[in-house]
C-alpha cells in the first residue's frame, strides 16, 4: 500500500483517525494551557506578593517545575495521580474513588508545568507596567479591585502576549508526551498506525507535518494578536 494511501481517507487509510487525533491534540493543549493560566496567575500573584512565604512558595513552584522533566510529572499523575486525588477527595468527604481520565491527567500535568513558565511571563508583564500608572491610579483613589480591572489586567494581557505565544508553542509540543498515558492524540495515533501497518515512516512524517501546521498557524495567530494589542504603544 502506497504511503499516500495509508494516510489518506480511503478504506485502508488512516486519514480520518489522524485528523481526529490532531483535534484531540489541540483540545488537550488548550485545556493544559488554560490550567497553566490559572496556575500562572496564582504563581505570579505569589511571587509579587509582599508575604515572604508566598514569594518562597512561588519560587519553589517555578524552580521545581522548570527544572524537572515534564515526563516525570506526567508519570507522577498517570501512575500515582488517582491515589493522590482520592486522598484529596476523601479529605473533602467524597466517598469512593475519584477516577480521572487520561485527558485530564495529561492536561493537568502539562498545565502544571506550563503554569511555571506562565508565572514568569505574567510576572514580567506586570513589572513592565509603568509605575506611574499605578501611582496615578492610587492617587485618583481607585480601589484595588478597580485598579486590577481597569489598569493592570489589560496591560498584562498586552505585554504577556509574546511570552504567551512561546508558552503556547511549548504546550502544543509537550502534548506529544501525553501519549504515554494512552490518550489518543496525534503522536499516539501515529504509533498505533505505525505498529498496526508496520510502516512507521509515513505516519511519523504526517505527524510532523500536522504539528508544523499547528505551530505555524499558532505563531501567525499570536503575531496578529500582538500587532493589534500593541497598537499605539511605543516599543524599543
Amino acid at each position: 500500500m502506497g504511503s499516500f494511501y495509508l494516510v489518506g481517507f480511503g478504506a485502508g487509510g488512516w486519514g480520518v483517525e489522524i485528523i481526529e487525533a490532531t483535534l484531540m491534540t489541540v483540545a488537550v493543549s488548550l485545556c493544559a494551557f488554560l490550567f497553566g493560566m490559572v496556575f500562572g496567575t496564582l504563581g505570579a500573584w505569589a511571587k509579587l506578593s509582599a508575604s515572604l512565604i508566598a514569594r518562597a512558595l512561588g519560587d519553589v513552584y517555578t524552580t521545581v517545575l522548570r527544572g524537572i522533566p515534564d515526563l516525570l510529572v506526567i508519570y507522577l499523575l498517570y501512575f500515582g495521580g488517582s491515589t493522590a486525588l482520592t486522598a484529596v477527595g476523601r479529605a473533602f468527604g467524597a466517598e469512593g474513588f475519584i477516577g480521572v481520565n487520561a485527558f485530564l491527567t495529561g492536561a493537568l500535568a502539562v498545565g502544571i508545568v506550563s503554569g511555571a513558565y506562565q508565572t514568569e511571563v505574567f510576572r514580567g508583564a506586570y513589572l513592565t507596567i509603568a509605575r506611574g500608572e499605578i501611582e496615578a491610579a492610587k492617587a485618583v483613589g481607585m480601589r484595588p479591585l478597580l485598579m486590577l480591572h481597569r489598569i493592570i489586567v489589560p496591560q498584562v494581557v498586552r505585554f504577556a502576549l509574546p511570552g504567551m505565544g512561546n508558552v503556547w508553542q511549548l504546550v502544543l509540543k509537550e502534548s506529544a508526551l501525553i501519549s504515554v498515558t494512552g490518550l489518543v492524540e496525534l503522536l499516539r495515533q501515529s504509533q498505533v498506525a505505525a505498529g498496526s501497518t508496520k510502516r512507521p515512516f509515513p505516519f511519523y512524517i504526517t505527524a510532523m507535518a500536522m504539528y508544523l501546521v499547528l505551530t505555524s498557524a499558532s505563531s501567525w495567530l499570536f503575531r496578529w494578536s500582538e500587532t493589534r494589542a500593541l497598537r499605539g504603544v511605543r516599543r524599543a
Binding site: C31, L34, F35, M37, V38, Y78, F79, G80, G81, S82, T83, L85, T86, G89, A94, E95, G96, F97, I98, G99, V100, N101, F103, L104, V140, H149, R150, I151, V153, P154, V157, V180, T181, G182, V192, A194, G195, S196, K198, P200
Partner: protein
Amino acid sequence: MHDRSGAWERPGKEKGDQAMRFVVALFWAVVAVALAAVTPVEAQTKDWKKIRIGTEGAYAPWNFSEAGGKLSGFEIDLANELCKRMNAECTIVAQDWDGIIPALQSSKYDAIMAAMNITDKRLETINFSSVYAAAPASFAVLKSSPLAKMPGTGEVYPLATKGAEAQKAIDAVKPMLKGKVVGAQVSTTNLAFVEKYFKDQVDIRSYKTTEQHDLDLTAGRLDAAFAAVTYWNDVIAKPEGKDIVIVGPAFSGEVLGRGVAAGLRKEDAELKTKFDEAIKSALADGTIKALSVKWFKVDISPK
C-alpha cells in the same frame, strides 16, 4: 474625556473591560471543565450487576483492537462468557499495560483480564481469581539470525516441577545468547524471567508494548525477544511476521507466574467469589477449552 460629572473614562476602557471579561470567562470555563471531568465514581453496589473489565488491547490473540478500536480476542470472548454466568453487564475498556494495575486500584475498572499471570509481586498489591489459562513463554528471533539454531526448540519446562531440567536447558542456551540484545515488555513475567536467568549475560531492553519490541526485532536492533508462545504464534501467522521464528525451550511457572487469572482489588472479595464460580463452571463444561482452541489452536486451559 473630562466631563463635569467627575467620572473619568480611561481611554481603552472598552478593551480593558473586554480583556477582563474574557479572562474571567476563561477561568470559569476551566473550572467547569475540571469539575465535569473529575467524576467521582459511585461506590460499587455490592451486588456487582455492572462490572467493568480492563484489558490491554495490544496482545493478540488474547486481547487486541480491530480497526476502529473494537476490542476482540480470547479474553474478550471469555469475559462476556463469564459475565453471562455472573448475571452481570460487562463493559470492557482498554488500558496501556504499564498503567493497568494502578488504573484498577483507582477504580477505572473492576477487574483485569489481560493475559496477566499470578505472581507474588503482584499479589502484594492486588488479588487474583482462579486460573483460566496457562501460557508458557519462549524466545523468538529472525529466521536469518544465527540464534535460529537455538537448542531445545519445542521442549516445554515448567520451572516449578522440572526445575533441574529447566536449568540445564537454560545453561545450554546461555552461551548462544551471551552479549546479545534481548527485549521484553516492561512489567511482565517475561521480562522478570530474562532478568532472573540472563541478567549479566545479555543486554536487556524493556519496551512499553510488545509491538515495539516486534518492530525492533524485525529491524535487527534486537537479537531476540521473549514473550508468550501463543503471542508469537499469532505474530508469525501474520504477513509482517513471516521472518520471525520461535526458538529454544519454552518455560512456565515460578518467576513466569502461576497461570493467567483475572486481577482484582483486594477488598472486592465478593467479586472474586463470583469470578471463581464462573470460571469453575466455564472450565467444567468445556467452554474455556473451546475458546482456547478457537483463538490459540491449542487447549491452554488449566488441567
